[in-house]
Symmetry: C2
Subunit: 398 residues, 2 copies
């Protein structure tokens, strides 16, 4: 009989709300039902062949540790990529991490001590919660709404959330889960608040290339905040290489860089072979980015149009990333998502969505919202959205 308990933070670590329904999906599949996965940002787009070729061509006999800050060749290519898109980012401003995830954990750990606070706009990427608990940081949410396209509120609203424990403000642009693209003036406002209140500003920009209307404004283009800007990045979505776990952190603050390097040294290095592959991906030309962006744009249009045809849906057209956060005419998104897997199918097919509450820190919010990831081929998406519509009807008449 055990008398030993897991730590408080171990107990607090939340299951991924995106992944916790997987057992129901597995059960549906065992029954022979086809499940369209709109719940997770795992695109069906092929990882460019350059990745696979670079891995196959790697001829070292020993799979050795790389440098803790990243392999030299990869750092050089990353820097070239940033300069090509107009950002003055040098090799020694970059720490290569194991996925964007590790970049976020590094950043949270380096700017905050346990009990400190980071302000964030909800709904937000649900795994920020797990990283914050791991880092002992309290996420302080500022709510944004479907009705206003999830744009950020007035300065006064943001400044109200600042306390002596606040260490930074974090945002994701374009945003996961809402698809919102933040404007230059929105980011400038955040920047000015951070300068005024001595806060770090963290920008997750992993969906940078997926902008369908407007323009992507990188945090790193504001030079007057260079000492407190932290950019988080990853190849996962850019190159449909989620399983590679290659991300990176960018900072011009040398103390911050040093602390990140030391964290990197403790865990030795990011995966070597996957960095070799990633390196080749940054040699892709504009054509790749354009083609991929247009494909997602077409998918966005399919999903958005289908949502508009469902009575009771609230959702402004998202301008970026590959997600929609939509208010659906349902009473409980958790129950609905489960219902779709356990109690519904149309001709042996169903749809998995990510329930809204997991994307909010404030209790009770998101109960009638779902995140839809448009990561499937157009034909699949069309069918999935038709099934979703039928599922909503069935759920409401059960």
């Amino acid at each position: 009989m055990s008398t030993i308990a897991v730590s408080r933070r171990g107990q607090a670590m939340p299951p991924s709300p995106i992944r916790k329904l997987i057992p129901y999906a597995d059960e549906a599949k065992r029954k022979g039902i086809k499940v369209y996965h709109l719940n997770i940002g795992q695109p069906d787009i092929e990882t460019p062949p350059q990745f696979w070729q670079a891995v196959k061509d790697y001829s070292n006999k020993v799979l050795a540790y790389g440098n803790s800050q990243g392999m030299a060749d990869y750092l050089a290519r990353l820097s070239r990529y940033y300069k090509r898109i107009g950002l003055d980012i040098n090799q020694d401003d970059i720490i290569v991490t194991t996925g964007g995830s590790e970049a976020i954990i590094f950043a949270m750990t380096i700017i905050s001590d346990p009990g400190d606070e980071i302000i964030i706009f909800e709904p937000f990427y649900t795994n920020y919660n797990g990283f914050a608990i791991q880092a002992g940081v309290n996420l302080v949410p500022i709510t944004t709404t479907a009705e206003t396209g999830f744009h950020i509120p007035d300065d006064s609203e943001i400044e109200k959330a600042i306390t002596p424990k606040t260490r930074g403000i974090m945002y994701c642009n374009p945003n996961n889960p809402t698809g919102t693209v933040f404007t230059e003036s929105e980011i400038a406002r955040l920047k000015n608040i951070c300068l005024k209140h001595d806060l770090y500003l963290l920008a997750d920009e992993v969906y940078r290339e997926y902008i369908y209307e407007g323009k992507h404004i990188s945090l790193m283009s504001f030079t007057d905040i260079a000492d407190r800007a932290i950019m988080l990045d990853s190849i996962s979505k850019r190159f449909s290489a989620c399983g590679a776990r290659i991300g990176n952190l960018v900072t011009k603050n040398k103390d911050l860089y040093k602390a990140a390097l030391h964290m990197g040294q403790a865990r030795l290095c990011a995966p070597t072979l996957e960095q070799i592959g990633a390196s080749a991906l940054y040699e892709l030309t504009d054509e790749y980015y354009k083609t991929t962006m247009h494909e997602y744009q077409r998918r966005r249009d399919v999903v958005y149009d289908a949502l508009q045809k469902i009575k009771g849906v609230v959702c402004l057209k998202p301008n970026g990333a590959f997600y929609v956060m939509a208010k659906l005419p349902i009473d409980d998104a958790e129950k609905f998502a489960k219902f779709m897997l356990t109690d519904f199918n149309y001709q042996g097919k169903t749809v998995m969505v990510a329930p809204g509450p997991g994307f909010y820190a404030s209790p009770g919010l998101g109960a009638d919202e779902c995140r839809i990831a448009y990561v499937l081929k157009i034909d699949d998406l069309k069918e999935a959205m038709a099934i979703l519509k039928m599922g909503i009807d069935a759920y409401n008449s059960r």
Copy 2:
């Protein structure tokens, strides 16, 4: 002018004492000096071709996320491997991690809250320090000495270190940096202390196969401590695949497993392609393990014999892993290690060692000790040890 500081823990994050001399080594290499690296556990043994073949054969077009707990096929092979070596470890006792490093961070985070303590035997693997700072855990060192072969002290000595904040005891077997193989009775003593005082017992067993005298006793072979035993493992040293960053955590405690799984879900998964390669490695037969062990044994003998011929060296014969922690006739190991890179070479060659102090948490200890990793071919090792001897003489007559 920046007014913003890095967090206290960010500032406290230590540079790797093994890696911090790299700039001096790079400078020596730029001058054309050959540097024998005895400072880092990066073997020159080839990663088995099965790894490379599996990676080349992988035919998926999308490099997708794997399961957060590890890919199903890899979990199955890991479980088979453990059963083959007599350990009753099932797939659902295992969480695949990004290197042994992540397994340690997960374990520390899940058993402790910030300010809690974990007891450890020094000298210890230096990166435990960085992980503990990241997790907000205080490592409480119990000193072991070269004169006693770095074996653990009496129970009373260990129990004195236990406070209300102690959450566990951690050891590495066979040990990095000392090469000590702990006996069954030593581990049983630790186990009984943990049962008596309600503590977790954490065993880093990544060098399990490298035992030259005696027998490896796994923590997981003690069934009465199943609720509080945590084993940390990795393919890095076992298969000379350090750059793969594939490790795993083993626990029979379901609450602990759940917390580790949730941490795993936040960061999504360990690298996919490297798991594919790792999976093939666990199909290697006993012949591979025997051959590799014998190679390291011969290297151990070369290094140990050479050390015995240096006057003033104190070091019992290490029985496992691929490290020796030796007291050398020098006043300051940090200065000596730097001297070897900046002020000494023999016929254009020199040696890099890891200074002792980085492996101790108690200030002042290890000043006359160095860790030597016997990770090079016999001929290289012989030459490196001869150069080390000459370097010590030169250092002492400078």
